[in-house]
Amino acid sequence: MSASNIFAGERLRGTAASVLPLAVILLAWEAVCRAGLVAPTLLPAPSVVLLRWIALLPDPDFLHHVAQTMIRLLSGFAIALAAGVSIGLLASRGGGGLLEPVIRVLAPIPKIALYPAFVLIFGFDHASKIALVVADAVFPILLATFHGARSVEPKLLWSAWAAGASRRATIFTVVLPSALPSILTGCKIALLISCVTVFLAEMISSTDGLGHLLIRSARSFRIVDMFVPLVTISTIGLLLNAALVAVRNRLLVGHGNHR
């Protein structure tokens, strides 16, 4: 399982060298705006966005929206994690014959299309948004768990059985740890999807949250305030991803390029 990954994980040598291009792009953008080449009502300078963002950070109203988004994001992800891992394990151990085709039917459905149904069933509040996050995030975790658990080296299982471990015990002492690298990769994908999904759900129908902030600003053409929620969700996504990478490095000390 490759831990290296362009979007995170890989330890880039020379952070300065890798941040430089981003700085160049931001500076060029800044310069274009300062020079008056684009109307500030269409594209605000990055410095203006950044200053507004910093100004808003201590604002209780803004933080309320951030908190609403985080509640939906994290609870949806947590439910998806619990459900994905348990269903994935179940499907890989025997239940596969029944669950596999069901998963095959459900996985390629664009979950966002289910959102109206969730709104009708769960209402306009947290529940429908959390449901959508779960529906979107559960499949990467489920499939990763399923594949990880299916590809457990049989001789690891044999070694455990021969050592007197029961079938049930090997699920927790062999199958789950073996599948862990794969599960964490699934989590990484699911986490990004959760960020995206919660934001979209809030844009489509909500009265609070970061997505709603963007829509509210768009209605009154406040371009700077449209960029702020985007910067915020991007930052949240990157921070959560960094947290996941840290957890991963913690949990996978023994895994890696053995053999």
Binding site: S18, P101, V105, P108, I109, P110, T197, S234
Partner: protein
């Protein structure tokens, strides 16, 4: 039961599980008795009515056309970029932070901004789809190109192949399994971005139809549209998977694509 299902083969078991899901839906809805959750049969009868209407059919067709355009543009742009990143450290280092920052941004969420720039027409929608498909494509092409066996490239160099030729004649074929995996994820992404951007912009298209039905409380139509979109997702994925297997039959069977793969 299990062995019986397995004997049926994947196609039959898929149909069977689809039927089982519909029956489950029917039963749950009849038990729940909520207005907003009609039984499967009530939704399914609406499907031919929606598809029979010229206007909605044209709307769905236009959506798919925009999706195709955005996807095709992304294919032409993202695959070479990803391959080049995979083979050239400098290019990778230059683009890495930009892509990293862009990854968690919901691409469909850019719709309001892009609409300010380019209006509410097709251009904005195609552009958003293009952005959404590009990222996973670049990501997977990068991985594929990164993992190409050095010795293959050395032999190509020894044969006097030029860098650009090497990229298309050695790197692309070796990275093809990964590129196609990226395409599959990109396909899922295109559909998601298409639907969500239409739900946000509310001008036309399949996502708009879906929400119009919701606004007018035509619950049967809402669920019928969901069924139609789900079917489109399933069929596109199925067709693509066939093509993919054809193209990379030489590669070992890889782990199934984890659809979907990231930023909308």
């Amino acid at each position: 039961m299990k062995s019986a299902l397995r004997k049926l083969g994947p196609a039959a078991s898929t149909v069977l599980s689809l039927g089982a899901l519909l029956v489950l839906w029917e039963i749950l809805a009849r038990l729940a008795q909520i207005d907003g959750f009609p039984p499967a049969t009530e939704a399914l009868v609406q499907v031919p009515l929606i598809l029979g209407e010229r206007e909605s059919l044209a709307s769905i067709g236009a959506s798919l056309w925009r999706m195709f355009l955005g996807g095709a543009l992304a294919l032409c742009f993202a695959v070479p970029v990803g391959l080049a990143m995979g083979r050239n450290k400098r290019i990778a280092q230059a683009l890495n932070p930009v892509l990293t920052a862009a990854y968690p941004i919901p691409k469909a969420a850019l719709m309001p901004i892009i609409m300010l720039w380019f209006g509410v027409g097709d251009l904005s929608k195609v552009l958003v789809i293009f952005l959404g498909v590009s990222l996973p494509l670049i990501y997977h092409s990068f991985h594929g190109a990164h993992a190409v066996d050095e010795k293959l490239l050395w032999s190509a160099m020894a044969m006097g192949m030029k860098p650009v030729a090497r990229l298309f004649k050695v790197v692309l074929p070796s990275a093809l399994p990964d590129v196609l995996l990226g395409c599959r994820v990109g396909l899922a992404m295109a559909l998601i971005v298409m639907i969500s951007s239409e739900m946000i912009a509310r001008q036309s298209g399949a996502g708009d139809l879906l929400f119009n039905a919701l606004d007018m409380a035509l619950y049967g139509d809402v669920y019928a549209m969901i069924v139609i979109l789900a079917a489109i997702g399933f069929v596109l994925d199925w067709v693509f998977e066939r093509v993919r297997r054809r193209l990379v039959h030489w590669a070992e069977s890889r782990q199934d694509a984890m659809v979907p793969g990231g930023g909308v």
